[in-house]
Structure formats: C-alpha cells, structure tokens
Symmetry: C2
Subunit: 370 residues, 2 copies
C-alpha cells in the first residue's frame, strides 16, 4: 500500500490540523507523537505496552541499528518490524543527527560523512545513498533523508552552506530510493535564520517528498528561537503532506507545535525522564524519589488510567526507584508514554471539537503557573 | 481462611508427593517453585507476567523490606500484597539468612542478632519476636521462624549449639505469633551432620508448625552433602505438612528434591541467571551473548510457549543483551521463570501419572549428558 496522508480538518483559529497517515503497517492519527526506540526497543517497554498506551507509530535510529546488530542482519531476520515484534508503523531517522553529534569523531565531505563508531572505533562512511540503503534494509515505513544538522550557534554563511548540502543530499536520497512502499521525508534546515529556513524550504519542497520535517530545531538553541522558526515555517510547508518537528519535545512544546500546524513529533523526554524518576501529570510533575511520597498511597495522577496509575501507589514507585529496581523504569515509562499519548488524544479531540485554542490556553496556563 | 495442606498423592517408587496448599490469598499446587521478589518485586517482572508464567506463590525478603521501605510503612499502605500488586500467596523469610550473611556486620546473642544495615550502617536488633512482628505487618501468607543459618563448614559443637539456638527461637516465634490467617513454618538446621539434623527435627516438630523447612542446605557445601541431607531428612518430616527446601536450586536440584519428598522450593537462579543472559532449556542452556546467535532467527527453545519464545528470536535477544537494554532482562526473566514453572507442572503431571521415576531419570540423564 502506498503512503498516504489525509488532512481531515484544519483549525480555524490556529494552524492546527487533524489528519491520518496510511502506511504499509497501518494507520496513524495525527497530530502524533512517536516514542523513541533507539536500538530496536522503546527502552524498558514490551511492544504490547507501547500499543496499550495508545502509540500508533514509533521511531527507531538508523545509526544505532546500522552499527549494531547491522541493517543486513535485521534484513536477513525479516526486517525491523519482525525483529523487534512491533507490527505497527516505524519511522527511521537517517543516522545523520547521531553522526553529527559525534563531534571530533566525524568529518563532513560533499559526498557524505566519515565517522568512527562510538562502540568500537571502526570507520564508516555515511552517504545519502547509504542512508537510504540502510533504511530500506530495515524496512521502515517512513524514511528520512540524510541531512546535515546545522549546530547552534552557526553563522549565516555556515548555515547557508549547510542547507545547500542538505538540499543536494535530499536529491540524492530521492534518486536512490528503490522501494515504493516506504515513504521518504525531506528535511528543512536553515538554523535560526528565518530567510535561510525559507530558502531551504524552496529547495526541498520541489523535490516532492511524502512529508517534510523541520530539522535542527532542538539542538541547544533558546526555546524562543525554536518557537519562532516553527511558527513561521511550518505553515509554509505543503498542506497536503505531513509535517514533522524532529526531536521535540516537552508537552508544552508539542501543544505549541500543533498550533503551528505540525503533525508529528518524537522525543526521548518521556522515556528518559521516566528512567530518571520524573513523571508527567497535567498539574505538577512528580519527582518520584522525593521523600514526601514515602507513605503516599495515591497513584502518580488520580485522573490517569494508565496501567501504572491503576495498580501502584507513589509510595511503591518511590520504593522501587530508591531501591534501584528495574520495575521502576518499566512502570515509570508506561506512565510517561501513556501521558504523552493521552495528550495527543486530547489535542486531536480538541481540534475535532473546534476547541483547540481554549485547550492550548488552558494547558499552557496550567503548566506555566506551576 | 486458615492455612491448610492436602496431600493428594504419594509416589510409590520415590518419596515424591502431589499436594495442595490453601492460604488466605489462594491455593498453591505442590511441588511448587517460588520466584524470589527480594524487595517487593520479582526483578523486572510485572505481577501479571509472573502469574502468566504459572507462578502461584512468590517469596519476599523480610530483611530488605524491613530496612526499606519499612514493614510499618508497608502495613500502613495495606500490606505487602496491595503494596506490590500481587494478589496471590506470599511466603516471607525471617530475615535471618540475610542478616547472617552480613558477616562482620552482625553479632549473635541468645536473644537475637545485632546487625548493621548494608544500606546506611544503622544498628538493628532482630529477635525471634521481632521477626514475627515484621512478617505479621507485611501480612505474608506463610511466615518463617527466625533461625540461625549454620555456615558451612562448621564443627559438630558449633552446629549443635546453633541448632539449639534455632530450636529455642522457634518456640519464641510460635509464642509471639498473633494472627491466625498467617501460617508459620519451623526450620530444621543441623548443618552437614545427619544425626544433628535428626536432633533438630526432634526439637522442632513437636512445636507443631504449619510446615517445615530444611535450612542451611544451600550455603556453600558440596552438592553431595545437600543431596544426602535432603534425601535422609525430608522423608522424616511429618507427612501431613508441607516441606520446604530453602534456597534450592537448579532444575536438577529441584527434580532431586521432589524425589526426596520436598513440596516447596525458592531460588534466585532463574531470575539472576536471566539478567546475566543464561537461559534455561530442557536440552542445552543458552548463553545469549554468544556470537553464534547473531543471526539466529529461532526462539530460545522451540518447544517453549512462553511469551518471549513465541515472539522473539535468539538474534533479537542477543542484540538487546549486548546493547545493554532493559528489555533484555525483562524478556530473559519471563523465559526463565516460565521454564521453572513448566518444570514444576511437568513434575506434578509425572507424579499424577505414576511416571515420576522415569521423568526424573530422563531429565537428569538429559542434563548430565550435555
């Protein structure tokens, strides 16, 4: 089945949209949040638990799977869906972000990026063609073009050079794509400069990708810049294609992004925070190791219907966390992923009910008064 | 509901028995294996997963829960069953074994044992009365008397002194027990000396406990001694009460113990081995990190119907283990606990079918030829 995006509804007061993506492994309602499964597993979660939390699509990382166990190994074992027992849609990144994060261990050339593995120091050369080859071997439903993720801060000249490289690579990625059942998204770069973002968009959109991402928006820049870029650029992207804000973000960031017309998000925040004992609620977030929960028989959030909140007290979760038990990470992650998924459901419901503006105001006010 | 043990069947060729225990939190078919939930959690497992593997009763450790989060805290939160969301039967040990394992951090007196916490160095005094008070606060279904776990090796004089202390404490435990819905088991000590084991038994059985355990049989002595003691002493225990071989053991040890008339076992082997990547099968055990599984698309055991074997390949489990993923521990533990539970079902079926002698021979031959 070819990839398809259906725009169901557009909010009148904001740029928020309600939509549906159809992939080879099922449908995804948008706006959607994708839990991150870096190494072929959303850390500590069974696939059934991910699904029970309401997730319809997950993200997995090309860089990590390429190095270990290797994309050819995964292909030989039936592809990533079979390998990790996740039958639903998967988006893979291109590996670029992780490679560029290696700093001194990588060197960019016009043809691609030379890097050394963080695991064993072995040398590799990632090209746009190779990024597609790896993602086709993994068999993900949505592939991402190899881009150069412009760091923050960067000068105008550096940023312009970088976005031109990204645009050239986008063309190479598109040209080397062989499998029609896998979608391919282009990535808009341009750093913190609005006109360069527009320039990147003008170079990328004519290549006619299945969807478009804003890249390099969660790379250490002040949050106002990320908000400014998202607000200005997202609405300029083609209305009939899904829009993906890469690596974002907090619940507040997501509500803001949706208001700008973003359809897809991914972030390690819910899973990583869970492992460090920070649990999300719609009022005050809970730092579970805090001694004040020692004898607290209430759930993390009495309004939450996740497995963890239905069955365990803050006191028990605190005990598990303080004792260093694995189950702490399991139960905390279930709660945080469920929280994010409920947030996305609430957002979609609000758009559907013509109530997104009020939802956004209420949500951000509640979070900001804490 | 008062504790009850029903002897359903006795094997004719061996001392193996089929039975059923009734506790305040449900029934347990024997011979039974109790997964160990040291700190109020069977490491890495949800209660539903424990139950789905076939476990009917778990063990939890008084020493750990007394120190953290504290037995009074657990009592205030509704007791251990509610606290950890395990509605089934729980056996708690007395805390003695862990305290004696502290070595230089503890000092034994006729009234009890003074020790320092391994967590914060705080001083505590564990008496027979206190051991019962803690277990009554936890609300376990089966409590154990505080015993002195005689180390190996120990002289005859040391062992005799030790078993006398254990017998005196057993009487104090019995006297201080207040709650009728919680069963209390006595513990036979006597080290590696058969006549001292008999002496301990003669002092303990007249106190009329709800069941009896062989203690100090898994404390570093050669396996032949553990087998000799179990073989000689288990059949001398009252036939109408459950018999518990503490801290045992490997699958082979369990099959042997059953043939001696043991009804209950507990051990950290399945869970600890799982976390270290050793996976049990009825043929060769699997060391999952081994490079030979890199592209192996088969389950751990093609004859196993556990969740892990039904859904994941050796290659995926190896990948998770090598990558240090939490899910490796989750999936490996599910398999090993399921393996132990299937072993117990097979044992019970064999006794029921008058085929236990053949089962034992086949099982031990298969394991020993590997």
């Amino acid at each position: 089945m070819p990839f398809q995006f259906d725009l169901i509804k557009k909010d009148t007061a904001t740029s928020a949209r309600l939509g549906s993506m159809t992939t080879a492994h099922g449908a995804v309602q948008t706006p959607a949040f994708m839990p991150v499964g870096t190494q072929g597993t959303v850390k500590s979660m069974l696939p059934e638990e991910i699904r029970n939390c309401g997730a319809e699509i997950i993200l997995s990382n090309t860089y990590h799977l390429y190095l270990r166990p290797g994309h050819e190994t995964i292909q030989n074992l039936g592809g990533l869906h079979t390998f990790m027992n996740w039958p639903g849609p998967i988006l893979t990144d291109s590996g670029g972000f992780q490679v560029f994060s290696l700093g001194a261990l990588r060197k960019i050339t016009p043809d691609g990026v030379m890097f050394r593995s963080h695991i064993d120091g072995s040398r590799h050369f990632l090209t746009p063609q190779k990024a597609i080859e790896i993602q086709e071997a993994l068999g993900s439903d949505i592939m991402m073009c190899l881009d150069e993720c412009t760091p923050y801060p960067a000068t105008i000249a550096e940023t312009e050079k970088s976005l031109n490289l990204t645009a050239a690579w986008a063309q190479l990625c598109k040209n080397s794509k062989k499998k029609s059942e896998q979608a391919l998204f282009g990535i808009i770069q341009g750093g913190s400069y609005l006109d360069l973002r527009r320039q990147s968009l003008e170079k990328t959109v004519p290549l006619d990708f299945d969807g478009y991402a804003l890249g390099g928006v969660s790379v250490g820049e002040p949050k106002e810049i990320m908000y400014k870029i998202t607000d200005a650029i997202a609405p300029l992207l083609p209305a009939d294609k899904p829009r993906y804000l890469m690596g974002v973000g907090t619940p507040e960031d997501i509500v803001f992004g949706v208001s700008c017309g973003i359809d897809m998000f991914d972030c390690v925040i819910p899973t990583r925070c869970a492992r460090h004992g920070l649990l999300f609620t719609n009022s005050e977030n809970v730092v579970i190791k805090n001694a004040r929960w020692r004898e607290d028989n209430n759930p993390i959030d009495e309004n939450c219907d996740c497995y963890t909140c239905k069955n365990y007290s803050r006191a028990y979760l605190r005990h598990l966390y303080v004792a260093g038990e694995i189950l702490a990470m399991v139960l905390n992650t279930i709660h945080n992923i469920h929280y994010y998924m409920r947030l996305m459901r609430d957002i979609r419901q609000a758009i559907s009910d013509n109530g997104f503006t009020k939802f956004k105001e209420d949500f951000l006010n509640k979070k900001m008064t804490l």
